[in-house]
Symmetry: C2
Subunit: 177 residues, 2 copies
């Protein structure tokens, strides 16, 4: 961030008078530009004894398996975003149960929310974002080909919790790889 999005003037980094953190401040119009974490929202879709994974068609981690999730957009709720991402990445319709994992990924300024969800029908397909979409039984999960730590965590939590029949919210803080 080098220039002001309001007036195109150059930005300086300084702590504003009523603040305690350095911010990008416009030398010209004085606008303060804040940087805040982004939300990634998605689903852990379940069908019978299987979970739905998508093989990423885009970087980062192209070719690795993930759960359908992506950046939350303005003008939607966290659940609407999770349903939208599941449609975009897997062409699948799900019914959300509840928020299942909440991960602060501190080193990349993201907060990831995954909702436990039931696949309405065993209907899904590849998309522009997924090379392949598939249901996996627990013994079929490609543990060495998962895209992200958060996805591995969510799947481990799920199979662990399934034994107990209860799926409480799992809150995790990640600080680097």
């Amino acid at each position: 961030m080098k220039y002001c999005s309001n007036c195109a003037g150059p930005l300086s980094v300084a702590v504003p008078d009523d603040d305690n953190l350095p911010r990008h401040i416009c030398d010209g119009c004085g606008t303060i530009h804040y940087l805040n974490p982004k939300i990634v929202t998605g689903c852990l879709p379940v069908y019978e004894d299987k979970v739905l994974l998508c093989k990423r068609a885009i970087e980062p981690r192209l070719g690795y398996w993930t759960l359908p999730a992506g950046y939350m957009e303005n003008a939607e709720s966290t659940t609407e975003g999770a349903l939208r991402e599941t449609r975009e990445e897997a062409n699948a319709e799900v019914t959300i149960s509840h928020l299942y994992t909440l991960t602060s990924i501190v080193h990349v300024n993201q907060v990831q929310m995954l909702y436990l969800a039931e696949l309405d029908k065993p209907e899904f397909s590849a998309s522009s974002e997924s090379l392949e979409v598939r249901l996996f039984r627990e013994d079929e999960i490609p543990w060495d080909e998962l895209a992200f730590t958060t996805i591995r965590n969510a799947l481990q939590f799920y199979f662990e919790d399934r034994q107990k029949g209860t799926f409480p919210l799992r809150e995790v803080i990640l600080r680097g790889n």
Copy 2:
């Protein structure tokens, strides 16, 4: 958003090739500038049979009562942000129990997370952000002087759930006043 923060060139609004929503795109360097919801994180601090509220010293809703909460910063987790806001607004130390309310405030592109927390000691004070900080019993809550719908909801949930002795995550979607 009118100018590119990367090169100061003018921005156009258009749907990028591999996207399905209009974005701000730089006519010069091609950078796409995404706008995403911000997270507000905070606490519902409890001490014995009372909850801690702060009288806002800043706009919006100056003079109205709120729970300690504010924008999550980069390089922190949601719980760290909640603890920081509670320090900044109430000079209070709390121990977090669990995520209690999750509200998508769709019309302002915010997601608010409030953690149920216990005030460590009955020690707190006003700050640059709060004109007054006080513990309220249920029958003392200034229902007509609360700052935001989300705060009213959280307090209503809390007193309702306290009767039952269980405080499940409450997820709410708000779409306007």
